[in-house]
């Protein structure tokens, strides 16, 4: 999953409004952030499936058996949820944990069978992945639905917020519309960049 988790982060704001958007974005991409760090130090790898099209959408052969193992995802979700509960509230903690783990569920749908169950693929258990990436049209539709739903949920939630005071309601409305449009616009732009294979 490349861009879909961004949509989940924005949409989750409707269920956990107290959590800042940046925290939900980090939660939604926590597995990929860990993957990037491990890739930088050479522990995990990302190779193009076809050498002729190294940037093709979904054209990745991933070795991400630490960052994207099922047990790693559950642990990261639990830790992030506990942090969210301590910093914000119980409901926010549950939403953050769900957002972190949703990334793994989406990857299960999209990635080829390269998701380990235990970190480092300990025990050589069967690898998981339904491989929707091999049907680019379908996986792009899944990503688009996630991103557009997230953008819509965020947009609606932001515009429903009351102004801090009646006097500032006009100025506040402009502020809410700006935030909603910029966030939704960035999500749609990320989707376009993904579909064009530039991610």
């Amino acid at each position: 999953m490349v861009v879909g988790p961004f949509g989940i982060a924005a949409g989750a704001k409707a269920w956990a409004p107290a959590v800042p958007l940046w925290a939900l974005v980090v939660a939604a991409q926590l597995l990929d952030i860990l993957f990037l760090l491990l890739r930088l130090v050479g522990i995990e790898t990302d190779r193009p499936a076809a050498a002729a099209h190294p940037l093709a959408y979904g054209g990745h052969l991933l070795q991400d058996s630490y960052s994207h193992a099922l047990v790693s995802a559950l642990l990261l979700a639990a830790v992030a949820g506990l942090v969210g509960r301590a910093v914000w509230d119980r409901r926010s903690g549950w939403v953050i944990a769900g957002v972190v783990f949703a990334h793994w569920v989406l990857d299960l749908l999209l990635q080829r069978a390269d998701l380990a169950i235990l970190p480092g693929n300990a025990g050589n258990l069967p690898l998981l992945g339904l491989g929707l990436w091999q049907q680019p049209m379908i996986s792009e539709i899944v990503e688009a639905v996630l991103v557009l739903s997230g953008a819509l949920l965020y947009y609606r939630a932001a515009l429903r917020l009351p102004a801090p005071s009646i006097r500032s309601s006009g100025e506040y409305r402009v502020r809410a519309i700006t935030a909603a449009l910029v966030t939704s616009g960035l999500l749609v732009l990320a989707l376009v960049v993904t579909v064009l294979g530039l991610f």
Binding site: K13, L21, R90, V182, L187, V193
Partner: protein
């Protein structure tokens, strides 16, 4: 990879900053602590 990081920064940074200026409800626990 670069695009991914750019969008992470834009969404978490720019959109996150705009988001922080909105009147979102405060966490439930904070309200409880304040009342106590």
């Amino acid at each position: 990879m670069v695009s991914f990081v750019v969008f992470m920064v834009l969404l978490a940074g720019v959109a996150g900053w705009l988001d922080s200026r909105l009147n979102w409800p405060k966490p439930a626990t904070r309200g409880r602590r304040e009342r106590l």
